[in-house]
């Protein structure tokens, strides 16, 4: 009927688009709040069995222990969203931790900010190397970062040998960074939370951040739409490296003693945190906040096991199970969401 046709063409353009976006965002909010709900329920149950769990000291421990992983999770999120993986984060952390912390020894009085900058620089260099190979070489990041995991760790061990940085060579101000608190909350945790919020805001609201999502959802479409895929991916790796470098300096401040084994094995833990936090393993969705919450959840569980007196031997089995649960849940959500979006699109035709 002609009237129908006319009225159809007069409809505002693509209400399906806005509606779809709103639906998607609603789902992500739910997913993020889902982690918070799990966290709250978990803490509540543990605290009811063992009230000491909510001791201010214990909370401080958990928050401080999480900071390094939350930072690493932020960088990894950017990479994973674009459908890539950075397996080298542990090795970058270790390299940066030793090289930057060892600056204090021979250079007494070096400003702490400078040491952080050095760590950032080291991490950035590693991230740039990764980025050039992945973006420029168009080679799978899983393989590249697996290789750099080996290479960076090997370089670290060659440089460090049997030496170590000892607490005695580090200024007290540096070692106090993880210990300073305000109203009982570790200042470090607040700073990291702010950094993560900034990161999440960037990913959501800046064009270059949103383009990472597009690249992860469909690299071909992103390329055809004019997105500089190579440049964005390169940036994601560079930033991930830089963040890992800063995390390394924080690691040194937290533990005080640094040798060539720092950060070994962190990569799988970080990816787990990121996946538990709702970042899709094939990219295209997820948030930095979710990933940080994932890291917090995993750390909380570790701590809870000790406090509850459950043998810490159960720790691994539990986080593995959680990871599988999170992946299954996300898959379920994605399938339902895709179906709903398709249905919505069809309805608006």
């Amino acid at each position: 009927m002609s009237t129908t046709v006319v009225s159809r063409s007069e409809r505002p353009p693509a209400p399906a688009g806005t509606g779809a976006r709103r639906l998607t965002e609603r789902v992500f909010r739910i997913r993020e709040s889902g982690i918070i709900v799990v966290l709250v329920v978990f803490v509540a149950v543990t605290a009811s069995i063992q009230p000491r769990f909510l001791n201010i000291t214990n909370i401080q421990f958990i928050l401080v222990n999480t900071t390094v992983f939350a930072l690493l999770a932020l960088g990894e999120t950017m990479v994973v969203i674009s459908r890539n993986y950075d397996l080298s984060v542990g090795s970058v952390l270790g390299l940066s931790a030793y090289l930057s912390a060892s600056l204090f020894g021979p250079h007494h009085g070096i400003p702490i900010a400078l040491v952080f900058l050095a760590g950032l620089g080291i991490g950035l260099a590693c991230g740039v190397a990764n980025g050039i190979m992945v973006a420029g070489g168009q080679v799978p990041s899983l393989v590249v970062t697996l290789a750099t995991l080996y290479i960076f760790r090997g370089v670290d061990i060659l440089i460090v040998g049997g030496k170590e940085v000892v607490a005695n060579s580090l200024p007290s101000a540096f070692l106090n960074i993880p210990k300073a608190t305000v109203f009982g909350i570790p200042i470090l945790a607040i700073v990291i939370a702010v950094v993560i919020a900034i990161g999440a805001y960037y990913l959501r609201s800046f064009r270059s951040g949103r383009e990472l999502y597009a690249i992860g959802s469909n690299p071909e479409a992103a390329r055809l739409a004019g997105i500089h895929v190579g440049r964005r991916v390169f940036m994601a790796f560079a930033v991930s490296g830089a963040i890992a470098g800063v995390a390394g300096v924080l690691w040194a401040a937290q533990y005080g003693t640094v040798d060539s084994t720092a950060g070994t094995g962190y990569e799988l833990q970080v990816i787990s945190a990121v996946v538990v936090g709702g970042v899709a393993i094939f990219g295209g969705s997820g948030s930095a906040v979710g990933a940080a919450l994932g890291a917090l959840l995993l750390n909380t569980i570790s701590s809870a096991l000790y406090v509850l007196g459950i043998s810490p031997f159960w720790d691994q089995a539990i986080w593995g199970f959680l990871l599988i649960l999170a992946v299954a849940l996300d898959h379920f959500i994605t399938v339902r969401l895709t179906a709903a979006l398709r249905l919505r699109g069809a309805r608006h035709e």
């Binding site: 421990f61 061990i157 937290q254 000790y306």
Partner: protein
């Protein structure tokens, strides 16, 4: 296309080969040694002949639990006066080698490679009491002298050089803590890996010694796996699980450093006593600010030095491990072989604020 791809392949190939060749030339200097007596002829079981001179030119491989561990670097290297310094004095060639994860799977290839390279003597700190035995026994069958130091593989070696009496290490830790706690309170142990021979042996003696202090109770033994992150978490877990905890013993250098970092706040300093086995350098800060009052160790470089001398004496036929035999270990003086083919370095050494600054390892 084909040519370019092959060329693209060739360049990295050339680089890898150059790398390998360069590595070999830089690393082989220590093995391009003077002519050494072939493994088969070094006497492993000859009767001791006090008059015979010590053999020279022997190929000795020092195989710690893992490389990249400051404690072992001190025990082994020439610079610190450790095993290789002794070997240099004696005119042997010493090389340190091992894997990087302190596990048998990581250490065994190093032992095998040493055997392949014609080792006459192996100095090994065992990652596991039994897993190395097949490999070590095979080495001894080939006439290679196998001496363990720091951590034993009982029954699979010619000699064991112990840093201090196992019993004394265990008991001294408990005694130090008891003194600080006035013999009263709950204590816990933060150990290394669950299967480490030495730590488990010491813990056994700690438990025995605790029976002398009925008002002290061991509430938990946790494992830090010689990894700072894990050691920190298990220490924090102890603090939360046992609010009445008064003392912690950590008989491992990584563990005590991690525990000290956790306790180094005004809340715990002085309220929870910490002691254990640690290297002076890594603990100087904590001793100076009072987190640790006293801790115990020995001198790892002397341990390595003594092990080297013992091994060379054995390989030269001057020792066969029987109880009561004596030998001279260079600047350390005279030593006697004890039971079970074990040689003791000496009593454990107690470090505290008064003496710690004299040491640099």
């Amino acid at each position: 296309m084909k040519l370019r791809q092959t060329a693209g392949l060739a360049v990295p190939l050339v680089i890898v080969s150059i790398l390998l060749a360069a590595c070999s030339s830089s690393g082989s200097s220590s093995t391009a040694a003077t002519s050494s007596s072939p493994a088969a002829s070094s006497s492993g079981s000859a009767t001791p002949s006090a008059g015979a001179a010590l053999k020279t030119g022997l190929k000795v491989f020092v195989i710690p639990k893992n490389l990249g561990n400051n404690y072992f670097t001190t025990a082994d290297s020439a610079k610190t006066g450790g095993a290789i310094a002794a070997l240099d004095t004696l005119g042997e060639t010493g090389t340190e080698t091992s894997g990087t994860a302190a596990t048998p799977a990581s250490q065994i290839p190093a032992i095998q490679a040493a055997v392949s390279k014609g080792a006459n003597i192996l100095l090994v700190s065992a990652t596991d009491p039994t897993a190395l035995c097949p490999t070590l026994n095979a080495a001894m069958k080939r006439g290679i002298t196998v001496v363990t130091y720091d951590s034993d593989a009982p029954g699979c070696r010619d000699l064991f050089v112990n840093q201090a009496s196992t019993a004394e290490i265990g008991t001294s830790e408990v005694d130090v803590l008891a003194k600080q706690l006035n013999d009263t309170g709950d204590i816990a142990i933060v150990s290394a890996t669950a299967s480490a021979t030495n730590q488990n042996a010491w813990i056994g003696y700690m438990k025995q010694e605790l029976t002398k202090y009925p008002k002290m109770k061991l509430v938990a033994t946790v494992y830090g796996n010689d990894d700072p992150t894990t050691a920190t978490q298990v220490t924090q877990g102890l603090l939360e699980q046992y609010p009445n905890l008064k003392g912690i013993i950590s008989p491992t250098t990584v563990g005590i450093a991690a525990a000290a970092a956790v306790l180094d706040t005004s809340k715990y300093r002085g309220k929870i006593a910490l002691t254990g086995l640690g290297t002076p350098d890594s603990l100087k800060k904590y001793v100076s600010d009072g987190t640790i009052k006293e801790f115990v160790l020995w001198k790892p470089n002397d341990l390595g030095y003594l092990a080297a001398y013992a091994a060379v004496n054995f390989a030269s036929g001057k020792l066969d491990g029987s109880q009561g035999q004596t030998f001279t270990a260079g600047k350390l003086g005279s030593y006697t072989v004890g039971a079970d083919k074990t040689i003791l370095l000496g009593p454990p050494f107690t470090f505290n604020a008064g003496n710690i600054n004299q040491f640099n390892f």
